[in-house]
Point group: D2
Chain length 152, copies 4
């Protein structure tokens, strides 16, 4: 899997979805920083909010097609400690035939909005009955473009 091309396509990459997450005390590990896996858990929650918004999760029940996580790449820029409130921003930057890329940016309230981590997730539309990747349905593509267009 390559992560070279980060430029968003036309109408994509506009960061329309975000959610807030308070740091939990138990998110910190023995180095007294929030463990690096917690950032990835936060990104997953933001991703699910995006999937609910664009109907990707409904697609599973209606058409047997759902998103699968093929890979991720995270860059850690600054440590996070308890207490703090994070904002996790996400956007879809690319939709290929069966695959798509999502960008993530996590900012810290205690650090005045500083970006503490950035990431890319590489996903695939999967046909559960056929057991293989499938083309992202056109109505889903349209809804993703609608969500991206709704970004302030």
């Amino acid at each position: 899997m390559r992560y070279g091309m980060m430029d968003a396509e036309d109408g994509l990459g506009r960061w329309p979805v975000s959610c807030e997450m308070p740091v939990q005390w138990g998110d910190m590990d023995a180095l007294n920083h929030v463990n690096h896996t917690v950032f990835i858990r936060w990104m997953e929650t933001a991703r699910m909010h995006y999937f609910v918004a664009c109907g990707f999760t409904d697609q599973v029940e209606e058409q047997g097609i759902g998103p699968i996580l093929a890979g991720l790449k995270v860059d850690y820029h600054a440590p996070v400690t308890f207490p703090d409130t994070m904002t996790i921003h996400t956007t879809i930057t690319r939709m290929g035939g069966a695959s798509f890329d999502m960008g993530y940016r996590i900012t810290s309230s205690a650090r005045d909005g500083e970006t503490v981590a950035t990431a890319i997730v590489h996903g695939v539309a999967f046909d559960y009955a056929a057991g293989k990747p499938t083309r992202i349905p056109d109505d889903l593509r349209a809804r993703v473009l609608g969500i991206e267009a709704s970004a302030p």
Copy 2:
């Protein structure tokens, strides 16, 4: 450890501290409900907010005395799913010589404030240098009573 006596002492058990926590998608397990360990992680965060407020955490650095978790008892009343926002309420119900009890109540926003879990944690004031339990310092007792008295 016994949990028989739940009645709060004079001036205690007034539920002065609470925090909100959004459910994360990954908090759910293979039964499609938030895993039961996550409730206990939430309670820990509420407890730390209380400890910061009453200065129990500062006590560790200043006097080498800190709280230790000796036991807990949780009753689960209703399942929780993503998305939802929980409120975790906590109160100190008893302060003995070296030990104390804290009550917890977790309510669900998606269930219109219904209580989904209740719990008791039994803690001990520990002298790290001596390696054994120690009397809860008087100034800490006073601050706990002050926090409980501040409950609405």
Copy 3:
């Protein structure tokens, strides 16, 4: 929920099931000890091994009856650090009409088998279609007694 009666019934409480679990570095929290929620995660794994062995999990698909966690009580006896290997022992100590109790004992290899935590879980047989507790099926009771009898 009461946890007063811990004596095992005839043929129960014989500790037939156990599993080993290496401590992970990330199990430790900012106090440099394994976080107290991790012990409860380990107990859940041992419980599932017991449920697989006695066919409680198959019961869900065949009869729509499955186990529900109603409550738990944990006593923490000693801290655990990385690296270590834990053994989680479990046994069913009581089977009522619809409810049952399971005991847990966690021992540490690094502490030469010392018990670091003990616990009780209170469970209920639940009829998912009816949406309420139901009588523990007789064949399941028989298999539980068989597993307990197999303890060395």
Copy 4:
């Protein structure tokens, strides 16, 4: 951060360190697969075993120099379910002035040793007193080469 160059340098990339980890039931999420963050937690444990072996963790106390996680890239190849036992293999593939790369490969026992995930972690030697990256100490480099040379 780039992950383009994966070829190991002379004497590196020989996969000398591995550890086994049983899957826990609670590692599975609402999709009935082990959650993708759990793979990263396993890799962290393997990394710490490597750091203990080469003395990188002692370096922190003795010289105030420790490893910092700058980024990671994970490719997921196959889903994992409970029960299973994973083997997490790790190797250092590159040591630059202050930075280093570690490779990871996770194999599944239930899948007859199939590789279910591969990853790269990009780390930096950090001088805590100075608050900035520092050159990897020569004795640490020598111990890393010794560990890699010990691979079967």
